[in-house]
């Protein structure tokens, strides 16, 4: 297994970019998760934010009294343990079950996705709910989780014409990715279901339902259960 040395550099005068891998993989992800945890515990001076992604972590700093040498030394010592051949020991992750209604209006494109693959809608649901997913990171918009683990058998292209409005909680597929639209937004993903869970609420703590490294499973529910859980404000 190749070992990509961990590099970091200033991607701007106020952001430090750490590279922990060269491709999307479980190994890169584990390094990001471990380095992210280590950096958060470091209390770097002037740190405004830490943003993890597939293979990189970006640290954002206030330029007031920026102590470059101290920051670089602290970052080096925090991430160096994860630069070797051996994978960092897997951090304990939460398992989050997400109830999804695939029936009727919740699964706007379910029939199309099934037809695309020459299988039944039930089979699409079975494949989607049988997989074990993990959260690579949250990004793009509040509460949006980039999930890994979609079975190749249901990978499907985006809509050629995006919808003007995708209901919040919609579960979609785009290429090899699957994810949940936390808010109602325009969107081009193929929607196969909808969750009654509130994926992001800025007045809740934590505001995002999912976090980096979470393991995720989708559980099929019917429309009655969907309505009940929606009323609960889950």
């Amino acid at each position: 297994m190749n070992s990509t040395p961990i590099e970091f550099d200033w991607s701007s005068d106020h952001t430090l970019r750490i590279v922990l891998g060269s491709e999307i993989s479980e190994r890169s992800h584990q390094r990001v998760v471990a380095a992210y945890a280590a950096l958060r515990s470091k209390q770097l001076p002037g740190l405004l934010d830490i943003t993890p992604a597939y293979t990189t972590i970006v640290l954002t700093f206030d330029l007031v009294d920026l102590d470059v040498d101290r920051i670089e030394a602290a970052v080096r010592s925090a991430v160096q343990p994860f630069g070797g051949e051996t994978s960092p020991s897997e951090t304990k992750s939460r398992v989050v079950e997400i109830p999804v209604c695939y029936d009727g209006d919740c699964g706007l494109d379910l029939a199309e996705v099934a037809a695309l693959h020459g299988i039944s809608p039930d089979e699409v649901v079975r494949l989607h709910t049988s997989a074990a997913y993990h959260v690579y990171f949250l990004g793009f918009s509040p509460g949006f989780a980039y999930l890994g683990g979609l079975p190749a058998a249901i990978a499907s292209p985006r809509l050629s014409t995006p919808r003007i409005r995708v209901p919040g909680g919609s579960v979609g597929i785009a290429g090899q990715q699957t994810g949940i639209y936390p808010q109602s937004t325009p969107g081009g993903w193929r929607i196969i279901g909808r969750t009654p869970l509130v994926m992001f609420d800025p007045h809740r703590n934590p505001s995002a339902l999912l976090a980096i490294a979470d393991r995720v499973r989708f559980i099929a529910i019917d429309q009655t259960e969907f309505a009940r859980l929606s009323r609960q404000g889950a």
Binding site: S11, S12, T15, Y36, L48, A53, T55, T56, G139, S141
Partner: protein, 323 residues
């Protein structure tokens, strides 16, 4: 405390402060003033801390009244006309960068902006909306913060906060500071992190060309029209976090300068990054502006920032207890 009432909101007016930090790992953009320098200046004149919330008006200002005496400071782009009309209908012009009395029953009108894109109405005491995730900045796309997570509409009423402990101050030559540091069309940039996505020609094109600010620009990003910048990777790469001022080259090769409301991560390569000291200049760019880039080192960029901040503090010191 007084209540500010929106009679006419203007083209696009939101409550902004210095932004929301610490939640990028949840996908939350910082938002905040597109021109933080002007926000700081206006707040300091009013005796506020730098991070007090103000109204950010875009291209065309609005009309406002207050139900009790309020102290207002206008900063940022100078409106063609900024006036207060009293109860008798007498209109007086109000200068930028000065504390102005807005008495109960009077009407404050901020007209269109001739140059620059954003004007700030700072109020002594700050705009007192409930902070969300630690800040009063508005992120309209996700409905987070500010006044109900949206742009202001006619009839909206905003509370003004308690007067701060610091005195109101004066800033001599704020206009001169603004001309040199904020209203500039040569933007300094440092090299971006995705060098393998670009060849020498790409960088050379960016270094020598003049780009025009497109009308399709907003708080998410400033779109530039001009010579196409070629990429080696057909315009995509592994999604990664995007700093403020990152200049992405999407499909089509037209540069996009990422703004305060940007998605926190992106999949297009970044060729250069605007220096922190010039982010306010980006926030004041308006459609048809002609932009050029000047390349500097990271070290030089930090020196420019430190010098600029020192000059700002000499122009007008921050209120005590600033963040």
């Amino acid at each position: 405390m007084p209540t500010l009432r929106v009679v006419q909101p203007g083209m696009f007016t939101t409550v902004q402060d210095l932004g929301r930090f610490g939640f990028a790992a949840s996908g939350v953009a910082p938002a905040g003033a597109a021109d933080t320098l002007s926000l700081r200046i206006g707040n300091r004149i009013a005796g506020n801390r730098d991070d007090a919330a103000a109204l950010e008006m875009t291209l065309v200002g609005g009309v406002f009244t207050a139900d009790d005496h309020a102290l207002i400071v206008i900063s940022g782009a100078s409106p063609r006309a900024a006036t207060i009309k009293n109860a008798q209908g007498v209109v007086r012009a109000i200068p930028s960068y000065n504390v102005v009395d807005l008495n109960a029953g009077e009407e404050l009108q901020i007209g269109p902006l001739d140059t620059g894109a954003r004007t700030y109405m700072c109020v002594r005491g700050g705009i007192d909306v409930q902070p969300v995730l630690g800040a009063r900045a508005t992120h309209v796309a996700s409905g987070i913060g500010g006044f109900n997570g949206r742009a202001l509409r006619a009839g909206d009423e905003l509370s003004i906060g308690n007067p701060p402990p610091a005195m109101r101050r004066e800033a001599d030559d704020a206009g001169d500071f603004a001309r040199r540091h904020i209203f500039r069309n040569v933007l300094r940039v440092t090299p971006g992190p995705h060098a393998p996505s670009f060849d020498g020609d790409a960088v050379s094109i960016l270094a020598h060309a003049t780009y025009e600010v497109s009308e399709k620009s907003d708080r998410m990003g400033v779109r530039l029209a001009g010579p196409s910048v070629p990429t080696r990777t057909e315009g995509r790469m592994i999604t990664e976090p995007m700093p403020a001022g990152a200049i992405q080259i999407p499909e089509g090769g037209q540069p996009l300068i990422l703004g305060p409301d940007r998605p926190t991560t992106g999949g297009y390569p970044v060729i250069v990054n605007i220096i922190a000291a010039d982010l306010s200049a980006v926030g004041q760019s308006r459609p048809r502006d002609q932009i050029r880039f000047e390349f500097v080192t990271i070290e030089a960029a930090r020196t420019i920032w430190t010098t600029q901040r020192a000059e700002l503090d000499r122009l007008i010191p921050p209120a005590e207890g600033r963040m």
